[in-house]
Symmetry: C2
Subunit: 261 residues, 2 copies
């Protein structure tokens, strides 16, 4: 199915569109798929193959925010991957996303993304040798190896962050620095060679827009930002741990712990 879609997209030069149906003429402001006004003279190479590793206990937004953004790259294919095919539970146990491929079925990816999880899921993944071996093998040939939230601890457990600068979930930073040979950088995302780590949960969206610009250029990344209407206006300003009240930090961790199975 995805192969078919990628095949259909070859020859589609989305960045060269000059005239399409006016916005707002249809419910979702759609333009007709597959019929851009301008086509490249020669077929474009297929878009990036993006693999997202799911494992029991991941946090839902970690894989899905980046999947939403990166799926809009021209010709992109997003594949959810897990140790075994089938539904994989989030940290709350309430939601399950399907892994469409097992790790045994995937050995080459343009982009690998490892999401974060609650304590239980992170610890289990850090100790899962099958996952770590697969991460190392895919990383060997990837164009980009990325993580969100405590996913960086899993990359570190796989040995990929030795000697590097990286970020992680704010509450995991002391653990990252004390356990691995990693310099924690409190930014939304940190690039070190072909590895990009993102801070907690929602930071994956910022990171994946940056990654989109590296893969397809700034204009395409900006268009994706507009496509997902990412003009964030949170009603509060309490998302930055560096300025948060200690009691709010405690409450945040308590809410997370209470919501997780």
């Amino acid at each position: 199915m995805t192969t078919t879609r990628r095949t259909l997209l070859r020859g589609t030069a989305a960045t060269a569109v000059t005239a399409v149906t006016a916005a707002g003429a249809s419910p979702a402001g759609a333009v007709e798929s597959g019929t851009p006004a301008t086509r490249a003279d020669s077929p474009l190479p297929p878009g990036p193959r993006i693999g997202i590793l799911l494992y029991d206990g991941y946090s839902l937004l970690d894989p899905t925010g980046p999947a939403e953004v990166l799926s809009r790259l021209p010709g992109a294919e997003v594949v959810m991957i897990a140790e075994r095919r089938g539904p994989v539970r989030t940290d709350t146990g309430d939601v399950r996303v399907m892994a469409e491929r097992s790790i045994g079925e995937v050995d080459r990816l343009d982009v690998l993304l490892v999401p974060g999880a609650g304590n239980r899921g992170t610890v289990a993944a850090m100790g899962n040798q099958a996952l770590l071996t697969w991460i190392r093998a895919v990383h060997r040939h990837s164009r980009w190896t990325t993580s969100v939230c405590t996913g960086s601890l899993i990359l570190a457990a796989a040995g990929l962050l030795d000697g590097r600068r990286a970020t992680t979930y704010w509450a995991s930073a002391p653990y990252l620095e004390s356990t691995f040979d990693v310099t924690y950088v409190p930014e939304r995302y940190v690039r070190s060679g072909k590895i990009i780590t993102a801070a907690g949960v929602s930071a994956g969206i910022d990171m994946s827009l940056y990654l989109a610009s590296l893969i397809a250029g700034e204009t395409t990344a900006r268009a994706i930002q507009l496509a997902v209407e990412y003009d964030p206006r949170p009603p509060f300003d309490s998302g930055d741990a560096a300025t948060a009240d200690p009691r709010l930090k405690t409450l945040a961790l308590q809410l997370l712990a209470d919501s997780q199975i």
Copy 2:
């Protein structure tokens, strides 16, 4: 399973925590689940039951952003619902989230959330009388009825937005206003009575933090914002359609169309 978790959470006064394990002592900065330092003297009522309607062709971040935020409300249960149980495809066809309940199995929700979709999915849902009837029935008893992106068109098709102010995906605003008796308001989210509509895709995160504050108070909402480290810092500033170049709008819609099946 979710019932068990809710039961466990009764008596847990997450907002009254005064002392828990120091952050950073464990990989995910975890505190021990279910053992807050302070407990309410009497059991708390169970938290909100949040139902998210999936249908073929929804956009992945529309349901998952709010699910991530709202699942952290004390005692919350998040249920993915569709016409039939089982995996439901996103607009790209690449990703499937499981519907754990069918609409026939759910008649009462504290919060109903209707996500948006690409053109095909939106049009199909707007014409699906079984879905519209169910939305009307659940809305009758809901505490909050909400939408993200073109989900507001589906609420409108169900007759819930007559005479109201609402928002939607930027490219769908002309359609919303010309098709229904609705006043479009270009804000991230718009409350009209117990109905809250959010703008496109990522706006569901902002909306759900606002909703969290209505349900559990501002301190809890702020703690959830910190829990998901929502301190957005997109690398670009192009998410606002009101200031976007027309060519960027065209490219955004083209990327969406090309990525959708």
